[in-house]
C-alpha cells in the first residue's frame, strides 16, 4: 500500500471545486467610460410575453419598452413625451376625435418605415389578441368589437395620410393619451415581418423579432437569458453608450445580490423585482455599501380586501355585480374596526426593514406619488386607535359570533408572510380576535378573489399602470368589474361612484381630479380596502453604473445608462 498515492488523490479531489472557479476579467477603460459597455442584469422570472399585443405581466414592460415604441411615453419625471408622435394630439371640441401627427422619420430596426397604416395594423392586431391591456384601446369606436370577434377592423381608426392617424372615441376620455403612453398593446409592430414569420412565431427568433425602439434582441434562450444590442442609426437619435445588455433569467433573489457583490451584475432591482429585504437591511446598515442602495418611489398599495357580496363584512348578501350600497351597511363598522386596529407604522417597521422598503398607507387606496392621492393621514380609518377599534368591534358584533373563524388568505412569500403575520398579531393584541392566516400560491388567491369565494379577509395589492386615477377606478372599483371572475375582487358596486368616475373619465385630468378625489374618498369612507402599506422599488447599483433608475412606474430606458471606469 502506498499512502502517498491516496493522499495525492484526496488532495486532488479537495481542489476540484477550486479548479472550477471563474476568473474575473478587469475591464480596460477609455476616458471616463468603461471600454466594455455591457450591462449585466438579473431577473427572477422570464417574460410572460414578447409580443406587445399580448402583454399581460409587469415583467414584460421593462424589456419591451426598450424595443418597441408607442405614440407617447413617460419620461423619468412622469411627464408625457411624444415618441412615435411629433406632439400631443389635436383633440376635437367634443373630446371625441384625436388626431395624431406622426414622425415621418420613424423606422423599424430592419429599416422598414413606420406609417400611419402600421399603427392601425398594430392596434387592430392588439384588439384581436384581446389581452389584458386591450382596455387601453377600448375608448376607440369599434375596438371592443374587434376584441370580441364582432368586427375585423377598428372602425374608429383612420389614416388620412402616411403621417396622420385619427382615432374617434365612443365617448370623451380624458385619460386616453395617458393610457397611450403606457408601454403595452399600443406599441407599433412591423406588419411585413409578422405576415412573413407568422403571428406567433415572429417573437421566437431574434432575426424576426423586430421593433422600432432603440434596442433590438440579439439572442434569447428561453428561461435562461436574453441579449440586446442598440439599433444602429436609430431614427430617434442616440441609443446611449451601452453596446450590449445581457439579462440572466431565473436567478434567485439572494443569489442575485451575491453575484452583484462579485461584480457580476451592474444593477439588481430593475425588471420588475426587488432586492431581498434582508439584503436591504444589510446594505442599509453598512456605511460603505449604503451608497449602492437606492430606495425609489413605488406606486403599489397592499392591503386587506373584504367581500362586499357575502360574509360578515358585506353590507348585505347580494349577487356579485349587483349594487352593494345596502342601508344599513351591516359590515361597515366591522371593516372600520379591523382597519383602526392595525398600526401601520408598526407594520411597516416589522415587515419593511424599519419602514425602508415600504411606507404606512395613510392616504387612501391610490398610492403616494400618483395623481389622485388624497394626502398623508387623510384616511381616517388608517389612524391606529385600539380602544376605538375594540368599541367598534363590540358594536358590530355584540353576540361575538361574527368575529369567529375569520381567515386572511394571501399568497405566500417572504414579505407577505411578514405583513400578514403582523396583521394577525395586531388583530389579536388590539381586538382580541384570533384571525387565522391562510397562505396559498398566487393562482389560488387569484381564483378565489375573483370568484368572490373568500368570506373573510384577503390580500389586495395593485401596482398602478400609469399616472392617472382612472387606472384605479375603472379596473378595481366600478360595478362593471364587480361580477364573478372580474377585477373588482371585493364586488364593491356603488352606482353613485360609477357616475362620478364616468363623469371624471370624460374630462381632462386637471378638471377631472376633484371628482376622482371625491370618488377616492368614497372608497375610504366605505372602507372598501384596509390600505396597509405603499411599496417602493429597491435597486442595488454599482458605483460605475450611471443613469439607472425607475420613475415609480417604469425603469429608466437603457439608452440612459452608461458604465464608468472601474
Amino acid at each position: 500500500m502506498r499512502p502517498s498515492g491516496l493522499r495525492a488523490w484526496a488532495v486532488t479531489l479537495g481542489f476540484i471545486p477550486i479548479l472550477g472557479l471563474a476568473a474575473c476579467g478587469s475591464s480596460s477603460t477609455s476616458g471616463n467610460l468603461a471600454k466594455d459597455q455591457t450591462l449585466n442584469v438579473p431577473m427572477q422570472d422570464d417574460v410572460a410575453h414578447l409580443d406587445p399585443a399580448d402583454i399581460d405581466a409587469a415583467t414584460d414592460i421593462p424589456i419591451l419598452q426598450n424595443m418597441f415604441v408607442g405614440l407617447y411615453k413617460f419620461d423619468d419625471k412622469l411627464n408625457i413625451q411624444p415618441y412615435g408622435a411629433k406632439a400631443l394630439p389635436d383633440v376635437s371640441s367634443d373630446g371625441k376625435t384625436y388626431t395624431f401627427h406622426l414622425r415621418s422619420d420613424m423606422k423599424f430596426s430592419n429599416g422598414d418605415p413606420v406609417t400611419a397604416q402600421d399603427w392601425i395594423y398594430s392596434w387592430t392586431r392588439a384588439a384581436k389578441h384581446n389581452a389584458a391591456y386591450e382596455g387601453n384601446l377600448s375608448p376607440i369606436i369599434g375596438a371592443d368589437d374587434v376584441a370580441n370577434g364582432k368586427a375585423t377592423s377598428i372602425s374608429g381608426l383612420s389614416a388620412p395620410d402616411a403621417n396622420t392617424l385619427v382615432a374617434k372615441l365612443s365617448a370623451p376620455a380624458g385619460y386616453f393619451v395617458t393610457m397611450l403612453a403606457m408601454p403595452t398593446e399600443t406599441e407599433v409592430v412591423d406588419r411585413k415581418v409578422i405576415d412573413k414569420a407568422g403571428d406567433t412565431a415572429w417573437t421566437n427568433d431574434a432575426s424576426t423579432y423586430i421593433g422600432s425602439g432603440p434596442f433590438k434582441m440579439t439572442a434569447r434562450v428561453p428561461k435562461q437569458s436574453m441579449d440586446f444590442a442598440p439599433v444602429a442609426n436609430w431614427w430617434g437619435g442616440s441609443t446611449g453608450t451601452l453596446t450590449h445588455v445581457h439579462i440572466d433569467i431565473g436567478i434567485d433573489q439572494v443569489s442575485q445580490v451575491k453575484k452583484f457583490e462579485s461584480g457580476g451584475y451592474g444593477v439588481v432591482g430593475p425588471l420588475n423585482q426587488n432586492v431581498d429585504t434582508d439584503d436591504v437591511l444589510r446594505y442599509q446598515n453598512d456605511p460603505v455599501k449604503k451608497s449602492l442602495l437606492s430606495i425609489l418611489p413605488g406606486v403599489r398599495v397592499t392591503g386587506l380586501g373584504f367581500n362586499f357580496t357575502n360574509g360578515p363584512f358585506a353590507p348585505a348578501k347580494v349577487t356579485p355585480g349587483q349594487p352593494t350600497t345596502h342601508t344599513p351597511d351591516d359590515g361597515l363598522i366591522g371593516r372600520e374596526a379591523i382597519s383602526m386596529a392595525i398600526d401601520r407604522a408598526q407594520l411597516a417597521d416589522v415587515a419593511c426593514v424599519h419602514a425602508v422598503t415600504c411606507a404606512p398607507a395613510t392616504g387612501g387606496p391610490i398610492p403616494k406619488g400618483v395623481k389622485g392621492y388624497l394626502g398623508d393621514n387623510t384616511d381616517q380609518y388608517a389612524k391606529f386607535d385600539a380602544t376605538k377599534a375594540k368599541q367598534l368591534l363590540d358594536q358590530w358584533d355584540p353576540g361575538k359570533t361574527k368575529r369567529n373563524g375569520i381567515k386572511i388568505r394571501y399568497n405566500a412569500s417572504a414579505i407577505n408572510d411578514k405583513i400578514f403575520g403582523n396583521v394577525q398579531a395586531q388583530l389579536k393584541a388590539n381586538l382580541g380576535i384570533d384571525v387565522a392566516t391562510a397562505p396559498s400560491d398566487f393562482p389560488t388567491l387569484l381564483a378565489e378573489r375573483k370568484n368572490k369565494t373568500i368570506l373573510g379577509l384577503f390580500r389586495e395589492s395593485w401596482g398602478m399602470d400609469y399616472n392617472h386615477p382612472q387606472d384605479w377606478f375603472d379596473n378595481l372599483s366600478i360595478c362593471a368589474q364587480a361580477g364573478v371572475g372580474k377585477g373588482n375582487n371585493e364586488g364593491y358596486c356603488n352606482p353613485a361612484l360609477d357616475t362620478l368616475v364616468a363623469s371624471a373619465d370624460a374630462k381632462q385630468l386637471d378638471q377631472a381630479l376633484p371628482q376622482y378625489v371625491q370618488a377616492n374618498k368614497i372608497l375610504v369612507d366605505n372602507v372598501v380596502w384596509v390600505n396597509l402599506i405603499y411599496g417602493t422599488n429597491q435597486f442595488l447599483t454599482q458605483k460605475w453604473v450611471s443613469g439607472e433608475g425607475n420613475n415609480g412606474f417604469y425603469d429608466y430606458e437603457w439608452k440612459e445608462i452608461s458604465l464608468q471606469q472601474h
Binding site: 488523490w9 386591450e134 428561453p222 431565473g250 439572494v254 443569489s255 462579485s262 378565489e448
Partner: protein
C-alpha cells in the same frame, strides 16, 4: 447476454408504464388545483379567457385533454407553454433543461462516487487513526447538513468571500453556460450524498479487508493499491452500488433547490415554477421526465451489478 436483454426489455416496459401512471396522476392532480395560468391580477376579459381556453384545449373534458397530451407526447411534442411566452413550443425548452439537469446531476453523482468512495476507503484502511476520525466526523457533519444549506454556504464562500479575498481574481460566477459554472453547484448537490457513500464504503471495506482472500492477497506480496482497489474495494462496492439507485433519485430531485439558488436553467426550477404558475403542460411533462430519468438511472445501476459481482446474472 440474452437474459440481460430480456431483463432490460422488461424494465423498459415498466418505465413506460410508470411514465404513463405518473403523467395521468399528475395531470389530474394539477388540474384539481384552484387557479389557472390564464388568470392574472388584471381585470379578466371573459371573451378572451374563453378564447384562450379553447386555443389550448382547456375547455375540453379532462380525459380528452389528457389523451391529446399523451398522443402528442408520444410523438415527442410536449405541447406549448401556458405561462411564460404563452404558445411557445415546450419540447426544445424541456429537452435543453433536461440536458442541463442531467449534466449537473452527472457531475454531482461523479463527485458523490469518487469523493465518497475515496474517503470511505481511506478511513477504512486507516481505521482508528486520525485520518479515520477526521473523515468519519466530517462525513457525519456533512450529511447532517441539507444540500440547500451547503448551497448557501458555498455561495457565500465562493462568490462573496473568495471575490473579496482574491480581489476579484477568482470567484464563482453564478449562472449556467460555462464549464467553470458546474463544479460548485455539483459540489453543493453531491456533498451530503458523498458523505453517505463514504460512511457506507468505510463500513463495507472494514468488513471486506478482514476477509481471508484479502489476507491472502497481502501474503502474496501484492502492492497496496492492487490489494485495496482490485481485491477489497471491488467487493466492498456492492452494497454501495445498491444505494446508488435511490441516491441518484435523491440527487435528481434534490437539484430543484440547487438550480434555484445557482440560477441554473434546469428541469428542477421548471418543476417548481410550473406548479406555481399552473402551467399544466410543463408540470405533467417535467414530472414524467423525472419518472423516466429515475427509471433509467435505476436500470443503469441494476445493470452494473454483474460488472462488480459475476455471480449476479439476469
Amino acid at each position: 447476454m440474452r437474459g440481460t436483454l430480456v431483463y432490460t426489455g422488461q424494465r423498459l416496459v415498466l418505465i413506460a408504464f410508470t411514465a404513463l401512471a405518473v403523467s395521468s396522476i399528475v395531470f389530474i392532480g394539477i388540474h384539481l388545483q384552484p387557479g389557472s395560468s390564464l388568470l392574472t391580477d388584471r381585470p379578466s376579459n371573459p371573451v378572451r379567457l374563453q378564447q384562450l381556453l379553447h386555443q389550448f384545449n382547456l375547455d375540453l373534458p379532462w380525459p380528452q385533454q389528457y389523451w391529446i397530451w399523451l398522443t402528442h407526447a408520444i410523438r415527442g411534442d410536449m405541447g406549448v407553454s401556458l405561462s411564460s411566452n404563452r404558445g411557445e413550443s415546450l419540447t426544445p425548452v424541456l429537452l435543453r433543461e433536461a440536458g442541463v439537469s442531467m449534466t449537473l446531476g452527472f457531475f454531482a453523482i461523479l463527485f458523490t462516487i469518487f469523493v465518497g468512495i475515496g474517503l470511505g476507503t481511506l478511513a477504512a484502511i486507516r481505521q482508528n487513526t486520525w485520518v479515520d476520525y477526521v473523515a468519519s466526523t466530517a462525513a457525519v457533519i456533512t450529511y447532517s447538513i441539507p444540500p440547500f444549506v451547503w448551497a448557501f454556504l458555498l455561495i457565500i464562500v465562493t462568490v462573496t468571500y473568495l471575490y473579496t479575498l482574491t480581489g476579484g481574481a477568482i470567484y464563482e460566477d453564478i449562472g449556467w453556460g460555462k464549464p467553470e459554472q458546474i463544479p460548485v453547484p455539483a459540489l453543493a448537490l453531491g456533498l451530503p450524498y458523498a458523505a453517505i457513500v463514504a460512511r457506507l464504503t468505510r463500513a463495507s471495506m472494514l468488513e471486506v479487508i478482514r476477509q481471508d482472500y484479502v489476507r491472502t492477497a497481502w501474503a502474496k506480496g501484492l502492492t497496496g493499491r492492487v490489494v485495496v482497489v482490485r481485491h477489497a474495494l471491488r467487493n466492498a462496492l456492492i452494497p454501495v452500488v445498491t444505494i446508488l439507485g435511490p441516491l441518484v433519485t435523491a440527487i435528481i430531485t434534490g437539484s430543484v433547490v440547487i438550480e434555484f439558488l445557482f440560477g441554473i436553467p434546469g428541469l428542477g426550477k421548471e418543476f417548481v415554477n410550473s406548479i406555481l404558475s399552473r402551467d399544466y403542460n410543463i408540470t405533467v411533462a417535467v414530472f414524467t421526465a423525472y419518472a423516466v430519468i429515475v427509471g433509467f438511472a435505476n436500470l443503469a445501476v441494476d445493470l452494473s451489478y454483474p460488472l462488480l459481482d459475476p455471480r449476479i446474472r439476469y
